[in-house]
C-alpha cells in the first residue's frame, strides 16, 4: 500500500467532523472500565482541551483516535471512516499523538533521527522531509540540538522533542497529552505558541491538561471527564462559570483563580486574567510577557 504524504496545506474546511466517537467504551484486561460511553464530535480546526482527574479516562479516550487502542464497545470515526477498518500506520497520517511520558516515545540515538522517524514512515523524503524536521525543531526550540542524544536532554526538553516528532508528521490532527508537564514559564509559553500556530494553520489540536490556566487561555472548548464519561462540554467561559463549579468539583477540578475572583466580584465568567482585568475596566496594556 502506498501512503500519500500528509496534507499539510489542504486542511478541510472548518466544521467538518474529523473525530467522532459513538458510544465508546473501553475496558482494560483486568476489568477497569476506563471509558464508559463517550459520544464526542470534534470538528476540523477546533482547539479542544480534555480535563478531569487522574484516572478519569482522558488518555484512554485519545488513544482511540490514532488506533493505539480499539473500542471494547462503540466505534470511532476518523475523518468519517470507521477506525476499526484502518491500520495504525494509516491513522498516523491523520492523527499525531504526543505521549505524556516522552521516554515511552523516544528511542533514537539522535534528536534529528528521532524527529525524522515519523515523517519518513508516512512517506516524506528529500527536501520535504528536511523541511518538516527543520520546522519542528525550530517550533520546539531544539534547532541547536539536532545531533544531541535525546537522553542528554533534560526531562522538559525531552517532552518538547516528543512534541517535535509529532509536529514533523504534519498531521491534520495533533493530540498533546499533558504538554506543559515539567515546563517552566518559557516552556509553557512555547507550547501555547505551538497550539496557536497549529490552529492558525487550520489544524485540529486536542490537549489533555491539568493546567487550568493553560486550558482557559489557549483553547476554545473544554471537555470535562469523570469516571470515563463526559460531564461538561463548553467554552472556557461556560466550563469555568460559577454554575459549572459543582461539576468541576465532582472531578476535583478548580476553575482558575481569575474565574473565582470574577465570580466573587459579580463581573461574570472571567476564565483568564485578561478577561478579569477587562471586566474590571483595567486598560489592556500589553502584559510584560517573558519572551514573546
Amino acid at each position: 500500500m502506498t501512503v500519500s504524504p500528509p496534507a499539510t496545506t489542504s486542511a478541510p474546511a472548518a466544521g467538518h467532523p474529523v473525530l467522532t466517537t459513538e458510544g465508546l467504551v473501553h475496558v482494560y484486561p483486568g476489568g477497569t472500565r476506563a471509558v464508559d460511553g463517550v459520544d464526542l464530535t470534534i470538528t476540523t480546526g477546533e482547539r479542544v482541551a480534555i480535563v478531569g482527574q487522574n484516572g478519569s479516562g482522558k488518555t484512554t479516550l485519545v488513544r482511540h483516535f490514532n488506533g493505539l487502542l480499539r473500542p471494547t464497545e462503540g466505534r470511532v470515526l476518523v475523518d468519517g471512516a470507521d477506525a476499526a477498518g484502518q491500520r495504525v500506520a494509516h491513522l498516523a497520517t491523520t492523527v499525531g499523538l504526543a505521549f505524556q511520558d516522552p521516554d515511552r516515545q523516544i528511542f533514537a540515538g539522535k534528536v534529528r533521527s528521532e524527529v525524522a522517524f515519523g515523517p519518513r514512515n508516512i512517506g516524506l523524503r528529500g527536501a520535504a522531509l528536511e523541511a518538516a524536521i527543520t520546522r519542528a525543531l525550530a517550533a520546539t526550540g531544539l534547532e541547536g540540538e539536532a545531533d544531541t542524544n535525546p537522553y542528554d536532554l533534560g526531562y522538559s526538553r525531552r517532552k518538547l522533542l516528543a512534541l517535535a516528532s509529532i509536529l514533523a508528521m504534519g498531521t491534520p490532527v495533533v493530540i498533546l497529552d499533558e504538554p506543559t508537564t515539567g515546563q517552566d514559564a518559557r516552556g509553557v509559553a512555547r507550547v501555547q505558541r505551538i497550539v496557536a500556530d497549529l490552529a492558525a494553520a487550520g489544524r485540529t489540536v486536542i490537549a489533555i491538561s491539568h493546567d487550568m490556566r493553560f486550558v482557559a487561555e489557549g483553547f476554545e472548548r473544554v471537555v470535562v471527564m469523570r469516571d470515563g464519561r463526559i460531564v461538561l462540554d463548553g467554552s472556557p467561559a461556560e466550563a469555568f462559570a460559577e454554575a459549572a463549579w459543582p461539576t468541576l468539583a465532582s472531578t476535583f477540578l478548580e476553575p482558575p483563580l481569575a474565574a473565582r475572583i470574577g465570580a466573587r466580584l459579580g463581573v461574570g465568567s472571567t476564565p483568564t486574567d485578561e478577561s478579569l482585568l477587562a471586566a474590571l475596566g483595567g486598560t489592556l496594556a500589553a502584559p510584560a510577557d517573558t519572551d514573546t
Binding site: 487522574n54 505524556q100 521516554d103 515546563q183 517552566d184 514559564a185 491539568h210 496594556a285
Partner: protein, 272 residues
C-alpha cells in the same frame, strides 16, 4: 538539619561544574521551595542534597553535605537512606520494577530499611490512606496512569518516614486534587519534624506550603528569602518562573491602577 556548605558539583565525564557555591540549610520541620528555569540545576541540586551525587552516580563535589551534623561522606548508602530520601521527577524512574502490586511497591522502602514486617505493613497502610490509594493497592505498579504512579512514588517515600525529604517536581503529573493531597501529606510530614526541599514549577503549591523559597539560575542561588518576598520579586519573570496566581493578579491590578484593596477580599475569599 540538612546543610549544604559551599557546594559545587560536576557530573562524571564532564569538565564544567553545574552547581556553584551553594549554601542551603533545611531546619527540622521546615519546607523550602526550589524554583528556577528548566536546566538551571534544580534536579542536580536535588541529587546533591540527597547524597546520591556523588555517592551513587559519581562526579565530583566540593564543599560539604551534613545531615544532623554528620558529614554525608562518612555514611554508608543504607545509613544515608535512613536520613534522607529523594523523589524523582518521573515516577517511572522511581518504580522498583520488582513489586507485583502497588502495596508491595510502597512497602519496599520500609522493608529495605530493615524494619520488622508489622511495622512495614503499618507504615505502608498509613501512606496508602494518606494519599487515598486504597483502590489501587492490588494493581500492577506498571499499569498505572502517570498521576497514579507519581502518588505511589510519594507514598513510598512517606512510608520510610525520613528525617529529610528531597522532592524533584513531586506533582508534575498530578491533577489539582492529587496536588492538594500531596501538599497536605507534605505539610503533615513537616509537622512531625521532617525537613523538606521541594523543586516545583507549580508556584501555587509552594505559595501555600513553604516558609522560604530559593531560586537558582545557571547553578547559582540567585534569590533566597521568605515566600511572599521572593514571589513578589520582579526578577522572577526574567528567570522564567511563573509567580503564583495570587501574586500575578495582585501585580496586574497594581500595574493597571485597579485598586487592589477593592479586590483583596475577593482574592482572599477566592483563594481559600
Amino acid at each position: 538539619m540538612l546543610q549544604l556548605s559551599g557546594v559545587s558539583y560536576r557530573y562524571a565525564g564532564y569538565s564544567n561544574e553545574v552547581l556553584h557555591d551553594i549554601d542551603l540549610r533545611l531546619d527540622d520541620g521546615e519546607i523550602v521551595g526550589l524554583i528556577g528555569p528548566n536546566e538551571a540545576g534544580k534536579s542536580t541540586l536535588c541529587l546533591v542534597a540527597s547524597g546520591l551525587a556523588p555517592a551513587s552516580i559519581g562526579g565530583s563535589l566540593r564543599g560539604s553535605l551534613t545531615l544532623d551534623g554528620v558529614p554525608a561522606t562518612g555514611l554508608a548508602t543504607h545509613e544515608l537512606a535512613e536520613r534522607v530520601v529523594v523523589g524523582f521527577q518521573n515516577p517511572n524512574t522511581q518504580r522498583s520494577g520488582i513489586a507485583a502490586t502497588v502495596f508491595e511497591e510502597i512497602a519496599l522502602g520500609p522493608m529495605n530499611l530493615g524494619l520488622p514486617v508489622d511495622e512495614t505493613v503499618e507504615r505502608t497502610r498509613e501512606a496508602v490512606a494518606r494519599l487515598r490509594l486504597g483502590e489501587l493497592i492490588r494493581r500492577d505498579p506498571q499499569r498505572l496512569s502517570g498521576g497514579q504512579a507519581q502518588l505511589v512514588g510519594i507514598a513510598s517515600l512517606l512510608a520510610m518516614q525520613p528525617r529529610h525529604v528531597i522532592l524533584d517536581e513531586p506533582t508534575a503529573q498530578l491533577d489539582p486534587a492529587g496536588t492538594r493531597l500531596v501538599g497536605e501529606a507534605l505539610r503533615s510530614l513537616a509537622g512531625s519534624g521532617t525537613s523538606l526541599l521541594i523543586a516545583e514549577h507549580k508556584t501555587d503549591l509552594l505559595d501555600g506550603l513553604c516558609s522560604r523559597i530559593l531560586a537558582i539560575d545557571s547553578g547559582r542561588i540567585v534569590l533566597d528569602g521568605p515566600t511572599a518576598t521572593v514571589f513578589d520579586d520582579p526578577r522572577l519573570a526574567a528567570l522564567g518562573v511563573e509567580p503564583p496566581a495570587r501574586a500575578r493578579l495582585v501585580r496586574a491590578f497594581r500595574d493597571r491602577a485597579i485598586e487592589v484593596s477593592v479586590v483583596e477580599d475577593a482574592l482572599a475569599g477566592a483563594a481559600s
